[in-house]
């Protein structure tokens, strides 16, 4: 069936929700002179009134579609980074099994790199079961690499400021741990600081341990590259900036390159303490 009706056909003037749905879901094979058609059918008194209605309708439709798509992108990023972590973990586990098995014949080796040499026929026993297992290890590792590429691309568009500050993979992990960019944006920075350290946090709350200084953000150079006494301060500073980045990404979406410079400066100040003798606040 050829479709050739304008978006306004079944929309009552003033029905913004109907207009939104018609803009979003409607189709037509060919365009027509819609402003004139809208006046002819009585949807609008004149073309100016038509364009006013169209403006309201396209704004509403696009605003709703943007929000929906962003939430979907969010969920996709979370699934993707979790799948990446699973593939990586499974391939490492199987690679260990493979190394144990394979090295009964020659010196063997470890990890995915060893599996690659088995697949290439450069090492390992001729046993087809070993070779098949090596194939699985390499496939999983390759899948993890592909997913990592995808995570990098998607994180840069879903959460551009956070990805710039944290690196795309850590940005995706933070979203994953929080359950979404929106929930991440709403968490206080002290919570962001210990995301991923929930076990340690609960042990602390039960009185069995000191409070954790950092969760998954430990993998960030700003923390790892700081001497142990100052890592608490570095983690706190980093978490503060990451929270701001997540909020900008969620609420406004514009890029703020100055956040990176701010963070670098804060971390430099903290790391410079190393030369200033024993004072500092790394003991919280």
């Amino acid at each position: 069936m050829k479709e050739s009706e304008g978006w306004f056909r079944d929309v009552e003037p003033g029905d913004l929700e109907g207009a939104r749905a018609a803009i979003t879901d409607g189709r037509a094979d060919e365009p027509r002179d819609w402003p004139v058609a809208a006046v002819e059918t009585g949807f609008a008194a004149d073309t100016e009134e038509y364009y006013d209605a169209l403006h309201g309708a396209t704004l509403a439709a696009t605003r709703a579609a943007v929000a929906e798509r962003e939430a979907a992108d969010d969920r996709r990023l979370i699934h993707m980074v979790r799948a990446m972590d699973d593939c990586r973990r499974l391939s490492n586990e199987l690679a260990e099994r493979l190394a144990e098995w394979g090295s009964s014949v020659d010196e063997g080796g470890t990890g995915v790199e060893y599996a690659r040499t088995v697949v290439a026929g450069e090492s390992g026993p001729a046993d087809p079961a070993v070779r098949s297992l090596a194939d699985r290890v390499v496939d999983l590792a390759d899948e993890a690499d592909r997913l990592e590429d995808d995570v990098e691309r998607l994180a840069a568009s879903v959460t551009p400021n956070l990805a710039a500050l944290a690196g795309p993979v850590l940005a995706a992990r933070l979203c994953s741990l929080a359950g979404g960019l929106e929930t991440l944006a709403k968490k206080p920075s002290g919570t962001v600081q210990v995301l991923g350290a929930e076990d340690a946090l609960f042990a602390h709350l039960r009185g069995q341990a000191t409070s954790p200084k950092h969760g998954v953000i430990y993998t960030h150079d700003a923390v790892r590259g700081t001497r142990p006494e100052d890592r608490g301060s570095a983690a706190r500073a980093l978490a503060g900036k990451l929270s701001i980045a997540a909020r900008i990404d969620h609420y406004s979406g514009d890029r703020r390159p100055e956040l990176e410079a701010d963070l670098a400066e804060r971390i430099e100040t903290i790391q410079a303490r190393a030369g200033d003798g024993p004072e500092g606040d790394g003991h919280e």
Binding site: G6, Y51, L54, E70
Partner: protein, 211 residues
């Protein structure tokens, strides 16, 4: 050189330099002078085409379809001097910024749609337009132009920016441009072409009319 800028576009001295400018609310931190805002050719392919003296055939008040509106940098200027302006963008994040650009421009209509699927917006975008401006920077730029020909009036203009690297990173830009133009010419007559390298590396500006 006698040039005919569209009505509503002027060369004005802003920040000590003669620049293209339009009248409207500032969008991307561009310098302004009263109600005039500078149109930066370094950030806009259409701005570069006009700056380079290409005859884009716009006169002011035109009805325009803009494909690849992104966050609205260029289409904000277009909406400042043109008439009804339909802005198609398929990525959600930049479209969110486009919304605020459209808020203050009552004849700018933002659409979150895929330019490769004109049937998903042909019920909104009117026929017989004066210009289709295209800056999608993805593979298949000629195909997008051909698919959207249906919106143009017979004497309308396609104002196309071709990014070589979006088609093929391995081949030289000239070879890519030739191939894109060849495909384009099945449905358009190319009136003018010019490299935009002074402002945008490895981009070609094309003015064409439907066959």
């Amino acid at each position: 050189m006698s040039e005919t800028l569209p009505e509503g576009v002027e060369r004005r001295e802003i920040d000590g330099r003669k620049r293209l400018a339009t009248r409207g609310e500032a969008v991307y931190g561009e310098p302004t002078d009263g109600e005039w805002r500078a149109w930066d050719p370094d950030r806009s392919k259409l701005g570069a085409m006009i700056e380079l003296g290409m005859d884009v055939g716009l006169s002011g008040g035109d009805r325009v379809l803009y494909l690849g509106a992104a966050s609205g940098t260029t289409v904000s200027h277009v909406a400042d001097f043109a008439g009804p302006t339909y802005a198609v963008e398929f990525a959600a994040r930049p479209a969110r910024d486009l919304l605020s650009v459209a808020d203050s421009r009552p004849r700018l209509f933002p659409l979150l749609k895929d330019a490769r699927k004109p049937e998903t917006y042909a019920h909104v975008v009117e026929a017989g337009l004066d210009a289709v401006v295209q800056d999608v920077a993805t593979r298949g730029q000629a195909r997008v132009a051909r698919l959207n020909r249906r919106f143009l009036a017979d004497d309308g203009r396609l104002l196309l920016s071709v990014k070589a690297r979006s088609e093929d990173v391995t081949r030289g830009p000239e070879a890519v441009f030739e191939e894109v133009l060849e495909e384009l010419e099945e449905e358009y007559e190319v009136l003018e072409r010019s490299r935009l390298d002074d402002y945008h590396d490895d981009h070609l500006g094309v003015v064409a009319s439907p066959r």
